[in-house]
């Protein structure tokens, strides 16, 4: 009996430790997802305009799942220490539900990362940037979001277009309809600006003289934060799920060994 008592004590200790880790990871997940949802790089309007902002939905789910994990881990610790079958049963059921939500969030984040290709953003930029005749209110909202985001992106990251300024020369665009090619081979935000926000040398910028225009594309500045976001939600979530799986198995085993 002593040996099995020891065994049970060890199992209790392990389960308490496992739940402590789950609680801390839950808080970390909530914090990470709040960070992503707050959109520090201001890229959400671009996702919104693709009409597929699932990685944001995944982050929102992550916030609530993280909080749920924290609460459930406390419940689990109490249940294990008190060896209370009812508490442990409630814990197991609720944890399984939370597990399912987190699984959905991770898979969504992981698969939607493949959706964010350069061509997606190029097409969106050409169709919406500075579009002058929006079809309806929703279109107008998305167009304004895309235009403001691109203007800010090009100024802050010193970049132009998705792959480079030649995007504006190689394809037709909404921008080209309202801005003639001779004055605007590419938007003026692609020019190197002085302290007051006007181009240092507009003629040099129009010709593409090095030093007066931004020659890099903005794709890295867009995909970098978005990939970090998607991978962060997906892989941290998967890691938590693996650990939670083990703790759940242990808890189910412990539950089967306790008596009312």
């Amino acid at each position: 009996m002593a040996k099995s008592d020891d065994g049970i004590r060890i199992l209790q200790g392990l389960l308490v430790f496992g739940n402590v880790v789950i609680g801390m990871c839950g808080i970390a997940l909530t914090a990470e997802c709040i960070f992503f949802v707050s959109d520090p790089h201001g890229l959400y309007p671009l996702l919104e305009a693709t009409e597929n902002d699932d990685i944001y939905a995944a982050a929102w789910i992550g916030i609530f799942v993280g909080f749920a994990l924290f609460a459930l881990s406390i419940l689990g610790i109490v249940g294990v220490i008190k060896s209370n079958r009812t508490l442990l049963l409630v814990y197991i059921i609720l944890m399984l539900i939370t597990y399912a939500f987190e699984m959905a969030s991770c898979i969504t984040a992981a698969t939607h990362r493949d959706f964010l290709t350069p061509n997606l953003f190029l097409k969106q930029m050409l169709e919406r940037y500075q579009k002058s005749e929006p079809d309806n209110n929703n279109d107008k909202w998305m167009t304004e979001g895309v235009t403001k985001t691109w203007d800010k992106l090009m100024l802050q990251n010193q970049c132009c277009g998705v792959r480079g300024p030649s995007d504006w020369q190689e394809y037709m665009s909404a921008f080209r309809i309202t801005h003639n090619d001779a004055d605007f081979p590419w938007p003026h935000n692609c020019c190197v600006m002085d302290a007051r926000g006007s181009p240092v040398n507009l003629d040099g910028c129009k010709l593409g003289v090095p030093g007066y225009y931004n020659s890099n594309g903005c794709y890295d500045a867009i995909s970098g934060p978005m990939n970090t976001h998607a991978w962060g939600v997906a892989w941290f979530g998967f890691a938590i799920l693996c650990w939670t799986f083990c703790v759940l198995l242990g808890t189910m085993f412990y539950w089967s060994r306790t008596e009312y």
């Binding site: 169709e127 020369q169 037709m172 665009s173 090619d181 004055d183 081979p185």
Partner: protein, 162 residues
Amino acid sequence: PAPPALLPYVPRVPPAALPGKLTATTFALERPCCVFDRHANASDAVWLVVAFANASAAFRNPPSRADVPLYEQLPTACSYMTLETAAATYACSAASPAVLRVGGDTVCGGQGGRDPCNGPLPSPGPYRVKFLVMGCHGPKAETRWSDPILLRRGTGGTAVPP
């Protein structure tokens, strides 16, 4: 009057990698430096002749400044002359930007004025250009015709990248 002297200089688009040297309605040319010094006085004017590549052989130098075909006549005459500049600007000693931009002036043209307009080109071309030195008695010197210059056509194409 004597026919204008033929200079061996061939105008060309600058070889440097400038993304804006060819756009849908403009193109850049290397600035001819030290080319006209022996044939032009400082007061003569150097014009740029722009013609559709298939009409360049038929182009005849205008006998005087009044006969110069202007930008507005491009659709009918298949050629025009622009960028009227004093020959002194192309002298060896003049410090200047390395390229000329053809088609960069969007505010001129269409008002029926007599000033040479450097307006945007209406079609992708191809075009050929040459420089023509005009004195008070008519053309004094000309360069060779350039190779055909074809402008970008992407912005007239489909809106959607593949």
